[in-house]
Symmetry: C2
Subunit: 397 residues, 2 copies
C-alpha cells in the first residue's frame, strides 16, 4: 500500500513543477466550508500575515469611491488568526446563489489557494462557491441528460476576421435528425463568448430546465459582442494579452450589423428551424442593447426578444445606420407583433431610469411587452434569474 | 468623452461586485512582462508584505523533501521591493515554452493578480505565460482555420454513469460530409478530459500543424481516465468539490475495459472512418499505461499507439482480466504489426527504468517500435513536444 501511495504521489506530484506546492507546501485547510446550517467558513493558512480579509458578493455592499463617482462594491470582513490559520464564518446562513470572493492579505488581493474553482469577470479572477436551493439548484450539474457545449469559429466577412462563438446543443442533438429552434444569448460589456457559460451557468440551467420539461430543447448560441475581437482573452491570436477594459468596437453598430452572418452560419451548420418563429435573442446590459437594435433592425428574424438590464442609452451620439430611424424601425417590429418582448431590470440598477423611459415610449405607442422588475442591481445574480424565467416562455406557440 | 467613459466604467464595474477591485483596488502593475530580449519581469504591488518570492518551472529545479522521498521541485527567486512594488527579472532570456508560476507572499502561495491567465493542474492553480519560438509557436492561436472543441457527454453502461469527454473536430468538419480518422488522447493521473486542451495546448497544436499540411485532419477525443468520475472537477454532479489527489479507480482495469464504449459512441455520433487503420491512441503517464493496455486488449482497434512517459509498472498486484496474460496479448498485438508503436520518455523521468525494461521485453520478442528519448523528466513540456512529434506520423499510409 505504501508503495502504491509513493507511486501515486510521484505520478501526481511530477505532473507539474508546482503541483508539489499543493501537496507539500502548506498544511491543508478547507476553504470555503459550507456548513450544515448554510453559513460559510473561509480559511487561509498564513502564519506571517498581519491582516487577512475576505471580500465578496455574499457580504453587504459598501460604497467605493472612484474618480468617476461612487459605486456599490463588495463588503469586506476580517479573518481572525488562530495557530497560523485565519478564519471567518458568515454570521448568518447564506441564501441560495453562486457567490464569488477573494482574500486580501496584507493589502494584496489574492484568490483562495484552497479553492481551485475560479471565474474571470473582465479583468478580475475570483473564487466561487454555490449555496444550493431555490433557483440556484438550476446552476448545479445534476444527473440529467447533458447538452454539448462547443467552441466554434465562424468567418465574418463584414468584420474581416475569424471569430469564436459558443454553441449549446441539447442532449440528443448528435443522435437523430431533429431540427431545433435557436436562442441567441448575448453578454455585457467586458464579457465574451464564455461569459454566459461560466458566470451565467447557461448550460446547467438549460440542461436542468429541459430535463424538467419546463423548457423546449433548443440550440443556444453565445457570441462575442466585441466587434474588434476574435474571441475571449487568451483564446484569440492576441495570446495572453491582458483583458482590455475599454474596447473600441462594442456599441457602435459593427456587431449588430454583422449579426445576420452569425444567423446564416448557425442555420447552415446546425440542424435549426430557420424561421422567425423559432428564433429568440436576449442579452444582458450591452447585450440587451444589442438585442434591442438587432431585433428591430431585422424585424423578420426574431419572434422572442429579451432585454436583461439593457444598456439603453437614448442620448448616445454614436453614428451608425443601425441606430437611425429608431422610431420607424420599432414601429415596423411591433406592427409584426413579436411573440414575446420581455424587459427585465433590477430596482437598484443604474440603468433603471433609462429602461423606464424606454418602456414609457413603448407604452405611448401601444407596443406590447412583458415587464419584470426584480430586486438588486446590475449583477449576475439577476441575469441568471432572468435566464431561468425567460427560456420557459420560448417556442411554446 | 468623459460621459462615455463614466458609462463604460459603470457598465463594466458593475458586472461583478468585485470587478471594481481590478479597476480601483490598486495601481496597476504589468506582470509578467516579456521583455524584448525574452527575459521576463514579474511584479507585485504589495507595500505591506515582508517577503515576496516567485516560484515556477522557468527557474532551475531544486530538491523538495517530502515524507515519501525527495522530488524535483520548482526553484524559487526573491523579488525586490521598490516603492511598494516587488520585482524580479530573470537573469537570462527564457527558451520558448509555456511556463507556469505563482508568487509566495509572506509564506502564502498566491496567483499573480495582474495575470488572469491560469491553469489548474490537479489541485494547484498557477499562472501561465508563453515565450514563443521553436515548437512553442505551435501553442499559439494563429490566424489559421480553427477546429471546434466540444464537451460532450456519453453514456457508459459498464461504469453506470454519464461521462464527459472533449472532442476536437478539425476546421471544416461542420460543413461537408468528409469522414475523418480518430486519435484518442489520454491524460495522466490527476488529470481529466480538459488536461490536454488546457495544459497540453492540443487544439492549438492540431490547428497549426494541420494548417501547415504536416498533420492529417483528424478528430481528437480526450476522455476522462478516472473511472469513478463523470467529469473534471467542478464539471460533474460532485459540484465544486475539491479535486481528489488519489482516485480509487484509475489504474485497475475499469477504464480500459469500458474503452470500446467510447469508440462506439464516437463512431456513431461523428463522421469517423471506423477502422483500425484510422484509429490512434496515445497518452501520457497513466494515459500511456492505459494506451498500452487498451491497444493490446483490443488488437484490432488501433493501428497507431503512443506511450508518452508511460506509467509502466511491471510489479503491480492489481487484479483485472485486462492485465492477465500480458505476454500473449502483446504477441497478438505485434503479430498484427501496428503501423506505429511509439515510445517516448525523458532521460530524467522517474519512469525511465520501467520503460527501459519494457522496451527490453519488446526487443527480446522482436516487436517493432519507435523510440524517442528527450531531455528532462515527467513534465508537460515533454508531453507537448511528443504530441507535436507523434501526430505527423498518423494516418499517412
Amino acid at each position: 500500500m505504501k508503495k502504491i501511495l509513493i507511486l501515486a504521489v510521484a505520478l501526481i506530484s511530477s505532473l507539474a513543477a508546482t503541483a508539489q506546492q499543493a501537496l507539500w507546501g502548506s498544511a491543508p485547510v478547507v476553504s470555503p466550508e459550507i456548513n450544515p446550517d448554510k453559513t460559510v467558513t473561509f480559511r487561509l493558512k498564513a502564519p506571517d500575515a498581519v491582516k487577512v480579509q475576505v471580500t465578496g458578493d455574499f457580504l453587504p455592499t459598501q460604497k467605493i469611491k472612484t474618480p468617476y463617482g461612487d459605486f456599490d462594491g463588495p463588503g469586506v470582513a476580517d479573518l481572525v488568526k488562530n495557530d497560523g490559520v485565519w478564519e471567518f464564518t458568515t454570521p448568518s446562513p447564506l441564501a441560495p446563489e453562486l457567490y464569488s470572493y477573494t482574500f486580501i492579505v496584507d493589502g494584496v488581493k489574492m484568490t483562495d489557494p484552497s479553492n481551485v474553482f475560479q471565474l474571470r469577470d473582465v479583468a478580475s479572477v475570483t473564487n466561487v462557491f454555490l449555496i444550493d436551493g431555490d433557483y440556484a439548484d438550476y446552476f448545479k450539474i445534476k444527473d440529467v441528460p447533458h447538452g454539448t457545449v462547443s467552441k466554434v469559429w465562424y468567418h465574418s466577412p463584414s468584420l474581416g476576421m475569424e471569430r469564436r462563438l459558443s454553441v449549446y446543443t441539447p442532449a440528443g442533438y448528435e443522435k437523430g435528425d431533429n431540427r431545433y429552434p435557436v436562442f441567441y444569448l448575448l453578454h455585457g460589456m467586458g464579457g465574451d463568448e464564455n461569459a454566459w457559460l461560466e458566470l451565467g451557468r447557461a448550460a446547467q440551467i438549460l440542461d436542468n430546465m429541459i430535463a424538467e420539461g419546463k423548457v423546449e430543447p433548443m440550440i443556444v448560441v453565445m457570441t462575442n459582442g466585441n466587434a474588434d475581437l476574435q474571441a475571449a482573452p487568451g483564446e484569440s491570436s492576441l495570446g495572453f494579452a491582458p483583458p482590455t477594459i475599454q474596447l473600441p468596437k462594442t456599441m457602435e453598430g459593427s456587431f449588430e450589423t454583422h449579426f445576420p452572418e452569425v444567423v446564416e452560419f448557425i442555420d447552415s451548420n446546425y440542424r435549426t428551424i430557420p424561421s422567425k418563429q423559432n428564433r429568440a435573442i436576449a442579452g444582458l446590459s450591452m447585450g440587451g442593447f444589442h438585442s434591442l437594435h438587432i431585433s428591430k433592425e431585422y424585424p423578420d428574424m426574431f419572434d422572442y426578444v429579451g432585454l436583461f438590464s439593457a444598456a439603453i442609452m437614448p442620448d448616445r451620439k454614436v453614428k451608425s445606420p443601425i441606430y437611425d430611424n429608431m422610431e420607424g424601425k420599432l414601429k415596423t417590429q411591433f406592427d409584426k407583433k413579436p411573440a414575446l418582448y420581455w424587459i427585465a431590470i433590477g430596482d437598484k440598477d443604474f440603468l433603471y431610469e433609462a429602461n423606464k423611459e424606454y418602456r414609457k415610449k413603448l407604452d405611448e405607442n401601444g407596443y406590447k411587452y412583458t415587464y419584470r422588475e426584480s430586486p438588486d442591481g446590475h449583477i449576475w445574480k439577476n441575469w441568471r434569474i432572468y435566464l431561468t424565467e425567460f427560456i420557459p416562455q420560448l417556442f411554446k406557440k
